[in-house]
Symmetry: C3
Subunit: 325 residues, 3 copies
């Protein structure tokens, strides 16, 4: 593992290894000795967090994952403080970052930037790994990994992800998290997907073609109530209004039909889980937070552990963490 | 000690302990061995500095207090880089921070936010302490603590704070530092207060009621010259023009009458001290800096040591620092 | 060495020592043991990076140099987050920084600020060193140092900088890097300079007077082609359009005549080097990057090692790094 750009390349052994690493880091951190061992894992490594698209969660979880492992971080979050205002090319900016750090973690509003940066690295004498932390409407690989980790943790005592029925609700057309997650389902046996979305924001055909190719069954419905009783997991997403065109197409959706609150909870299986990539809008009522099936806050925190796992793997420190450090 | 929200709850034993901890940290830092021991005190702890209201001093002193103790810090200082631009609620933002760090240090322009965050923490499964680093025109507890620490250090050889005459000058109505400090005076015996303010910015009645209740004598005067000879400490504050309404009421004040320069110095006791929370305006002439009674720069630096003491106390590391680490 | 403000005071023994320190740090960092030793060099020191003028490279190289040595950093990059918005004076802001950290590294748009800060420090009881990281159109000492280091490394096996022919091309009038570098040439024997610039951006007379005084020969020409074959190093610079007046004088220059691409490469000595302070504009074609004589990316990275050397020297840790730590 060098660059982390596209989750579609992840295969089951790597997913299982990363989940195990995340759990190992998470458990170690519970004791002072373990937390100090983690901090001594990558103390000489430095990361660049280049986040020109605003992001609280992804930024903070990466930053703290680095800190847990003893890494140091530099950040550019405001494009106006960068050399690009002097007209520097994107390529030169990225190469400059690589001069000073050991890994570049980047998030941009424009699509394809992380892949472009990785490709640039592959052509220079001193390449550093590039981690895609969100690149326009492209894939968002570490989000997909933390979603997998949350599913696996939640189903640890019920046979794992294999054989589960996973619902995905909301703006499935533009939500990159659900798209990425779908691509990873080929690694699990017997999974069934249920897409619950308004017609104009249905899951796109490239994803469905991929599912067909890998014989992963899915159904589509605009009615949450019909789908609820069958689900082992319900992955809720918000309307991605920031990608709306001038027609403000999100406005036409009756959001109440794609939301979860106390009435819906009563129809959900007793051991099902509710996920959400956060931040949330009105699609999950705050009252749901109290329900033991609400897994999104733990999911959020899983993101930090999974990102720590990715960094451990990239820097080849997995052996030192596995043997109890 | 978990959350640090309102200085009015601080009692004498805690104040004395925090002052002792601040001194202990300050002295340890003077040697390389001691500084390394401090840095090894909380190396696995992580802080979130959430400062949506600009603040150089409070931010830097907290950030460096964390660093002195080996802690790692993440920061949000520009609200436009946060998820709130995607419409996330304040509660969800705070809970998100708590997912990644061990303490939230926050400063907001709006009142009541820190208390609200602390209350939220009290209702979730994995709460982290919240430190109020200034919340609108509310209390500013760590400022009050550093002021107490400065008074105590300055009066170390003259019997401590008990029995001293403390003048407070300037915009007493809206200055939260002097308000907070007044509330702490009940912990000291025989203190007398002198409020020196223009009529329209006199100390507010809630503070005066509190002083009456605790039988702490105070006098009010608009004439600095009359008050000067009696003072052991003069706490100068600036006009809080940022809270002015459209009427720009600050403009009406004759600032020269509430300022200190060489002429006033000559009327001040030889062993009195001059304090100021900084930043200063014209109310203290730069020439005063050279006077040995000018204590505000040391007061500023005391803020870093007191904030380190607060963090040590919150994380229960006081025993490890007390025994010479 | 305390403050680092003006490169004109650097003499040969110091330059040689800093180059040796930079190399020592660079080589140590190649092994895990060495990198950990570096990180244990200044673990209790804290730096303030006060960068009110945007700068990617200088900021990141200083930040990472600090991190390599185990130092902690605080930053102000956005003037709107600082107390200056409350009307604090520059002097008070700088003194405030000095309250919390062990070194102030600063970059400002206005000239003379770093020198002003250093002077202020010299008059207070607890001064900290100030490093000028660029101050208007003034000197930029650490850039000059990294340029010297790059020249020295490149000519290590060909007798060092002494006796070399160094071309400087582009906006020599306003480029502070070439100006600073000229002032350092008096420390090397037999160096010849060739200034290649459009007439309106020729090297200024103060620099030429300095060269005359120290009997350093230089020639001036607007024709790169004539100069190319004689050069051991070509230092290319971009048009400093940000200093243009309303007349936009940069627009009048035929940039193609002061650029380097494949045709120029063929006329350059086989063992010559091409330098550039970056960011670059059109004056160096990206295709040049592939040429082994292109030294600007290494030069950029040298900046981090030289800045680490400066910090090591300022804090007197050079003995601990010299003996293998």
């Amino acid at each position: 593992m060098f660059h982390v750009i596209d989750p579609r390349v992840f295969e089951r052994p790597l997913l299982d290894e990363l989940c195990a690493l995340a759990t190992r880091a998470r458990l170690l951190a519970k004791s002072d000795t373990g937390a100090r061992a983690l901090r001594d894992l990558l103390p000489t490594r430095r990361a660049m967090l280049y986040f020109t698209q605003p992001s609280t969660r992804t930024f903070l979880s990466f930053n703290n994952a680095c800190h847990i492992l003893g890494m140091r971080t530099s950040e550019i979050r405001d494009p106006s403080t960068s050399s690009e205002v002097k007209g520097e090319s994107f390529e030169d900016s990225i190469r400059t970052f690589s001069s000073y750090v050991d890994v570049i973690i980047m998030r941009t509003k424009e699509s394809g930037r992380a892949a472009q940066a990785a490709q640039l690295m592959n052509g220079i004498p001193r390449p550093v790994p590039v981690i895609n932390a969100g690149s326009g409407s492209d894939q968002h690989p570490t989000q997909a990994l933390l979603d997998i980790y949350t599913l696996q943790r939640s189903f640890e005592e019920t046979g794992g992800i294999d054989g589960k029925v996973i619902g995905m609700m909301g703006d499935l057309k533009r939500g990159r998290t659900v798209r990425s997650l779908c691509y990873l389902m080929k690694n699990y046996r017997g999974v069934r997907l249920v897409f619950i979305a308004p017609e104009q924001f249905a899951m796109q055909s490239d994803v469905k073609a991929h599912l067909d190719e890998h014989r992963i069954p899915y159904t589509e419905t605009p009615r949450l109530d019909d789908a609820l009783p069958s689900l082992d997991a319900l992955y809720v997403t918000r309307m991605q209004t920031e990608w709306d065109t001038a027609a403000r197409e999100s406005q036409a959706v009756d959001l109440a039909r794609f939301s979860i609150g106390p009435p819906e909870l009563s129809r959900l299986k007793r051991d099902a889980i509710i996920m959400h990539p956060l931040p949330r809008g009105p699609e999950i009522a705050p009252a749901v937070d109290q329900d033991p099936r609400a897994m999104y806050w733990r999911q959020e925190r899983n993101g930090m552990w999974m990102r720590a796992a990715v960094l451990i793997k990239i820097f080849g420190a997995e052996d030192r963490i596995a043997d109890g450090t």
